[in-house]
């Protein structure tokens, strides 16, 4: 009976390439991984947005309207609904002039109780050091 921690570090911009979407969908798939594991074994993801990746966290995305695809906003909300640990780098949002109220911080509208956290890079570094495997997306 063990838990393996996976750190998804999302650095790529939304919609330009598929990286951030795949990072989030893979993290969310941790919810069904038990079918492949022994009883009691688990995989626990943490999702960290750094660099240009913080742009995935902007509110009011219109992906369905413009591209007819689900938005990364919806994936972040689904992550929060599933109580995944979502960290957003404070220095990187500051660098891009993004205020915290422009970010997806909760999933209350779909019944989520977990919030995303804007944290200094040092906290993200600690999260990266605490995981068994890192996945840069």
């Amino acid at each position: 009976m063990a838990t393996k921690k996976l750190g998804f570090v999302i650095r790529t911009m939304p919609y330009k390439i598929e990286g951030s979407r795949l990072g989030m969908t893979h993290a969310i798939s941790s919810q069904t991984v038990e079918i492949y594991l022994e009883d009691g074994d688990m995989v626990e993801p943490v999702v960290c947005f750094i660099g240009d990746g913080v742009l995935n966290c902007l509110k009011n995305q219109q992906a369905m309207k413009h591209y007819a695809i689900t938005s990364l906003e919806q994936h972040i909300k689904n992550s929060l609904l599933l109580d995944l640990n979502v960290l957003i780098c404070k220095e990187d949002i500051d660098k891009l002039g993004i205020k915290e109220d422009a970010l997806i911080m909760d999933a209350e509208d779909i019944g989520g109780e977990t919030n995303a956290k804007v944290v200094p890079y040092s906290e993200i570094q600690k999260a990266m050091e605490s995981v068994d495997h890192l996945l840069f997306c």
Partner: protein, 120 residues
């Protein structure tokens, strides 16, 4: 000997990251390790049968089939990523499996090392 899990999202044509992933798999196997190769996103196309070799592009199908046949490489493609690209079950290269993304996370659970190569 250890187990290496490699996840790759990069395209078969247009990026050499998949080329690197397969060559790294081969090198690890030659050292006695086992390798799980997860291909997702554009990388799923490396597991499609019927690929043709051209000198301008990496041709990885033959090498993958040799390594899979030898028994130390498991290649699994993301089913949703494949279907989204019009690549169906009957198009899958012999010896390659197709599962959902949780298979990759499960593979990482038992891996001694995970190398994740994000894509394009």
């Amino acid at each position: 000997m250890g187990k290496l899990t490699i996840g790759c999202f990069s395209s078969l044509v247009g990026s050499l990251s998949l080329d690197f992933s397969v060559k790294l798999s081969e090198a690890a196997i030659q050292k006695g390790h086992t390798v799980d190769l997860w291909v997702s996103g554009n990388a799923t196309m490396v597991s499609k049968k019927g690929q043709k070799a051209f000198k301008d592009y990496s041709f990885l199908a033959k090498k993958i089939q040799e390594l899979v046949a030898a028994g130390n490489l498991k290649v699994t493609a993301c089913e949703a990523c494949a279907e989204a690209r019009g690549y169906h079950k009957e198009d899958t290269m012999e010896g390659v499996k197709r599962f959902s993304m949780d298979w990759y996370l499960a593979s990482s659970f038992t891996a001694d090392r995970l190398l994740h190569i994000g894509g394009d």
